[in-house]
């Protein structure tokens, strides 16, 4: 049978103007019934991007919903001392290939950014698009040490963990991982416990949820009585999530709604979770802005120590003390201030001259705000 209608554009249903307008009206009606504006945190930087790119933020404000950006940008929450340690290493040792994702190379630290670092002779810094690419470099260059400086949440952690497993299986002796791996649920708990930000609900990150499932956020609804919804990344996806949160607030029935059922299941991805548990163990990690959070970071288990760059190269971390560049990235990540509230934003700090990682990463709240809304007006 031949299809009667022409093939549809990818995602067209999730972007159409009429769908978006209908959802906005429905949200406005729910918020109207609650009779006060709602403050909802979108945890994930990619959601922040959707809201800005599709021009939804002001439209939501009209509908009575204030969106607050959360900590969901791995580049942003990785503290400077990781970068500084890897900069120390690559400038002092030869024959190293440091591989990392593009945004990571531009984060400014006390020791400069990886991008402008001049490596020791024979060493280099390479941007890769996937952890697998780093592994491939190790296979092709057996005489050189390849380190993957991997930052990520649950979305990318399984793929990163898998490279170590593969390296062990293939008995690759020249591959190691500098893990900057972060878990979302403990960060949400830290935000709730601090009580600094008033939040009526969460939009949970869609991609992270593919791995962790709905169950990972139950404690938010059950222990803190805060509504939430897992959402995808198209404009209609995010609006569906917001509509669900508004309904939960109105009915006073907090839960973990799944508005991204086309890819997220209740239990997540058991194989990915098993792989993570096999390779990695949680520890009390330090986040930029949020500080130390129990069980919020993952590091390689001791039996994989040979593949842990920290152990292999005796890397040392020097957390910053008393450094104050004026950058308010930390507070932005917590939802305490908006990018515009930072005195550096658009003046001393812009995408060409970033002063903090939130202005570097494509999921950083400051870069997104600058690019899509207010940057030009500040100039």
């Amino acid at each position: 049978m031949t299809p009667k209608s022409p093939p549809r554009e990818p995602f067209s249903d999730w972007r159409s103007g009429s769908t978006v307008r209908r959802l906005l009206q429905a949200i406005a009606a729910e918020v109207g019934a609650i009779n006060r504006p709602l403050r909802i945190m979108e945890v994930c930087g990619t959601h922040t991007m959707t809201l800005h790119r599709s021009g939804l933020k002001p439209l939501l404000k009209e509908a009575g919903v204030v969106m607050i950006s959360g900590p969901g940008c791995p580049v942003c929450i990785t503290p400077d001392f990781y970068h500084e340690a890897i900069i120390d290493l690559v400038t002092s040792r030869d024959n190293l290939v440091i591989t990392t994702f593009g945004d990571m190379t531009r984060v400014p630290t006390r020791k400069g950014a990886l991008q402008t670092t001049v490596p020791a002779p024979g060493s280099e810094i390479r941007i890769v698009y996937s952890p697998e690419e780093a592994l491939q470099l190790a296979r092709k260059n057996p005489e050189r040490e390849v380190i993957f400086f991997g930052a990520g949440f649950e979305t990318t952690i399984p793929a990163i963990a898998y490279t170590v497993k593969k390296a062990a299986q293939e008995q690759l002796k020249n591959f190691s991982l500098l893990a900057a791996l972060w878990l979302i649920p403990p960060a949400l708990e830290a935000i709730l416990q601090s009580g600094d930000v008033a939040i009526d609900g969460f939009i949970y990150p869609g991609h992270v949820s593919v791995i962790v499932g709905e169950q990972a956020y139950r404690f938010v609804a059950e222990n803190y009585r805060i509504p939430g919804a897992i959402a995808g990344f198209e404009p209609a996806d995010v609006l569906l999530g917001i509509l669900s949160v508004a309904r939960q607030v109105k009915e006073n029935r907090p839960t973990v709604a799944n508005e991204y059922r086309r890819v997220v299941s209740a239990e997540g991805n058991p194989r990915a979770l098993a792989l993570m548990a096999e390779m990695l163990e949680p520890f009390e990690a330090e986040w930029r802005g949020l500080g130390r959070i129990k069980n919020s970071g993952l590091k390689l288990r001791s039996q994989w120590q040979d593949y842990d760059a920290v152990a292999r190269f005796q890397m040392t971390f020097q957390p910053a003390t008393g450094r104050d560049s004026g950058c308010r990235c930390g507070q932005v990540l917590k939802g305490l201030v908006e990018p515009m509230d930072c005195p550096l934003f658009g003046r001393a700090c812009d995408p060409e001259h970033p002063r903090g990682p939130c202005m570097v990463s494509y999921e950083g709240a400051c870069l997104i705000e600058y690019k899509y809304s207010s940057g030009a007006r500040k100039k």
Binding site: P7, E9, P10, F11, R15, S16, G17, V20, R21, L24, T46, H52, R53, S54, G55, L56, K57, P58, L59, P74, V75, F101, G102, D103, M104, R106, Q115, T116, I127, Y129, E133, A151, G152, F153, T155, T156, H207, P235, P351, E352, Y362, E363, Y370, K371, Y372, S373, S374, G375, A376
Partner: protein, 328 residues
């Protein structure tokens, strides 16, 4: 900044800064200061130059040879000139296969002949292995003016058009260069824009070929030159189906992807429909579209705005750094 960074050549705002702050002050003169794609020289001539370092040198839809000829032709056309003569300078890395060189030369010859441009002077340098990557090409071109851009005459109601789907060259290069292990039908849009020349007498006030930095950067630079804000509608910007799929997966904004055979036009309101039907008859512009108009109600001077399908507005900023796919 003590060293030149890659971003200074990416076509974005850093490059603009670099040109304005480093180059213009040194070479200042009335021809250069116009900062158009070509210089306007007496009597009635336009003169342009460009260098090509594309990697890979062969890509779906073109090669460094056809690119270097088309690029120069297009710079002249959007300046209002009919290209006539070109120079060709080759910088070749020692060890390049002769057969590869021949393929490139043939491609240059064919592209020039098809567009009635004569290559009248040239130069060849060979550098030791590793000191260049296979081959770089520099071209210059001169053409006779048939019209002139008039950004100062642009007024509210004038229509903003593109000559076809945007972003395909940038994506084709990206997919060929990076090992995404994605198969795609996306081909470079590399092509000459000669068919635009008659429009200089039919209501075109301004043209620019959409190259590095993509449609968003071209619009935002135009906004800087015009007294009124510009508004384009996202839904009206033509994008090919295969490009849409690929940019979704890679997390790339197609409005920042380069083209090599597309132009942005501003056309007088009264002539817009006629120009559109003319364009749609050209093989290189069958999917031309009116994507927006010059404003007097929405926005402020200097702003290029995009209206999203849901009715939201966002600012189009010039490209700031090299495109990177998302990491999570």
């Amino acid at each position: 900044m003590k060293q030149v960074s890659l971003e200074m050549g990416s076509g974005g705002r850093l490059m603009q800064e670099f040109i304005r702050e480093r180059l213009l002050p040194v070479f200042k003169n009335r021809y250069l200061d116009e900062l158009h794609d070509s210089a306007f020289l007496p009597p009635g001539m336009a003169f342009t130059t460009d260098s090509y370092t594309v990697d890979p040198i062969f890509f779906p839809g073109g090669d460094i040879g056809s690119l270097s000829v088309n690029g120069t032709i297009n710079d002249l056309v959007v300046s209002g000139a009919r290209p006539e003569f070109m120079s060709l300078a080759l910088i070749i890395e020692e060890g390049l296969e002769m057969a590869t060189l021949d393929r490139i030369l043939l491609s240059i010859k064919k592209t020039a002949a098809r567009n009635k441009v004569t290559i009248v002077t040239g130069d060849t340098k060979v550098v030791p292995r590793g000191q260049a990557d296979k081959i770089y090409i520099n071209t210059a071109g001169v053409g006779r003016l048939v019209g002139r851009p008039h950004p100062e005459k642009i007024k509210p109601g004038d229509r903003i058009m593109v000559t076809g789907p945007v972003g395909e060259h940038g994506l084709a290069i990206m997919l060929t260069r990076n090992d995404f292990r994605m198969s795609s039908r996306v081909r470079s849009d590399c092509a000459p824009l000669l068919f635009l020349l008659p429009l200089w007498k039919k209501g075109a006030l301004w043209m620019r070929d959409i190259t590095r930095g993509g449609l968003a950067t071209v619009l935002s630079e135009l906004a800087d030159r015009v007294r009124y804000p510009l508004l384009v509608e996202e839904e009206k910007i033509p994008l090919s189906r295969s490009l849409k799929g690929a940019v979704e997966i890679l997390g790339i904004d197609p409005l920042y992807l380069a083209c090599e055979g597309r132009a942005l036009l501003v056309v007088r309101e009264a002539e817009a429909q006629k120009v559109l039907s003319f364009l749609k008859k050209q093989p290189g512009a069958r999917q031309a579209a009116i994507i927006g108009q010059v404003q007097d109600r929405i926005g402020r001077q200097g702003e290029a705005l995009l209206q999203t399908p849901g009715g939201g507005l966002r600012l189009l900023e010039p490209l700031t750094s090299e495109l990177l796919p998302r990491i999570c």
